[in-house]
Symmetry: none
Subunit: 227 residues, 2 copies
DNA sequence: TCGGTATGTTCTCTTTTAGTTCACCTTTTG
DNA sequence: CAAAAGGTGAACTAAAAGAGAACATACCGA
């Protein structure tokens, strides 16, 4: 599953976390691998993240988390959660995890077809597999409406959203329009405009000036329950 | 199920992964099998993937993963694991539960379009929200194929199955046909016959005598991960 | 609020390693 | 015998990895 370098880095990260609970910086990883530039580390970290071995928060220092280890080494696998930047502003809680799963808050419903339903804060949580986490804070929404059925997102599904204010072309995002109406749609950039594309022939694409649209998060997972 | 060469290669891959957690390259596999060209290895790897013994990430180097081993060899190779909490099978057959989540075994892939894939023996688990459990024993399968897309079940999704040998009309079930071919389909009773209905216009309904069809479980949940 | 320090991110270039495909031949097996 | 599996070699494409620099962001303290 891993290349030699990826494995070497993963082991190093995991050791550092076990030793002192602080994840190494890119420079430290660079030195540990005997490199002269940290861009290579960056690539390795991305590869590990892509393969589901670690998780990280974007643009946060020393915010690596080991999700699993290759089987050979699994005896030492730990679930250290460490965020750097202690004592700074913001309630930046990384969801706690144990070996079973991760709990994330359920923030209400999102009408995939029309408007928002303001985020509520009843104490409601769902647990998801650790691998389904994105990089940042995650929360869940219940899908209402059928505008995304052609992408397999049905009315009543629970979607896992990673908080972010940026998204790449083609990603499914929670988009807030005119600061009042949130929907789940595929995002497309088109010059000055942003297109919010539904996945249902009965709905049409909204084309909006970029400034009217605010990305609130991107889709990273989906849960469905059959009755 | 496997040819001699396929088996030989599978064992080699599994050994390498157990030894150092790094999957072998095509060249290394070529040497291990005493070949002079790696195109043969390519064919063998494809065969193993097609039969569900391994999984690989498309266009990634050294990204092989062993999903199961032929029955007669199971256990042999994993014996290198020292004291992992991963490799040990443990008395885990009864799903442990707490308030966080539940771990259920991942039993392999099910080709929603065509044949079965025998249950494997790797200790692989996914955690799911407690509410997603059915009443009986549950396990997970990875969906392969697109025959259920119109019900929002996509290739690569993980489905949660509750073991049962009965199902009501209209439920989505894992059905074993002639004791050898399992598929995920909507079940319909029609007098003496049972219809296995796909959710994709490109596939057609199978109509079978009731005695040829055995229900193995019913669909109770679905998980999907976006990348 | 400003600027400095520490960190993370991107980009371009280069080399090395690895995966894919194709045409053609040989062996095994039902 | 015919079909399937296996083997060879070469050309081609793509990914992994390393370097170095510029740039962006977060944080901290004055």
């Amino acid at each position: 599953m891993l290349t030699a370098k990826q494995q070497q880095l993963l082991v190093f990260i995991q050791e550092r976390l076990a030793e002192n609970g602080v994840s190494p910086s890119f420079d430290e990883m660079k030195d540990a691998l005997g490199l002269k530039s940290k861009s290579g580390v960056h690539r390795l970290v991305n590869a590990l993240e892509e393969r589901g071995f670690i998780r990280r928060m974007a643009n946060r220092a020393r915010a690596l988390e080991v999700l699993k280890m290759p089987e050979k080494l699994s005896g030492t696998a730990a679930s250290n959660v460490v965020a750097g930047n202690f004592g700074s502003a913001g309630p930046r809680s990384i969801p706690s995890r144990d070996d079973q799963g991760v709990e994330i808050p359920l923030h209400g419903r999102i009408a995939a077809g029309t408007p928002i339903e303001a985020l509520e804060n009843r104490d409601s949580f769902v647990s998801i597999p650790p691998g389904m986490l994105g990089r940042g804070n995650c929360y869940a929404l219940e899908v209402s409406g059928d505008s995304m059925v052609e992408l397999g997102i049905l009315d009543g599904d629970t979607v896992v959203i990673e908080s972010t204010d940026t998204a790449r072309d083609g990603e499914v995002v929670v988009a807030l329009v005119d600061r009042e109406e949130a929907t789940l749609k595929t995002l497309r950039r088109n010059g000055q405009f942003i297109e919010l594309v539904p996945a249902n022939r009965d709905y049409s694409t909204q084309v909006l000036e970029a400034k009217r649209v605010q990305v609130q998060g991107r889709l990273v997972g989906l849960l469905r329950q059959y009755h």
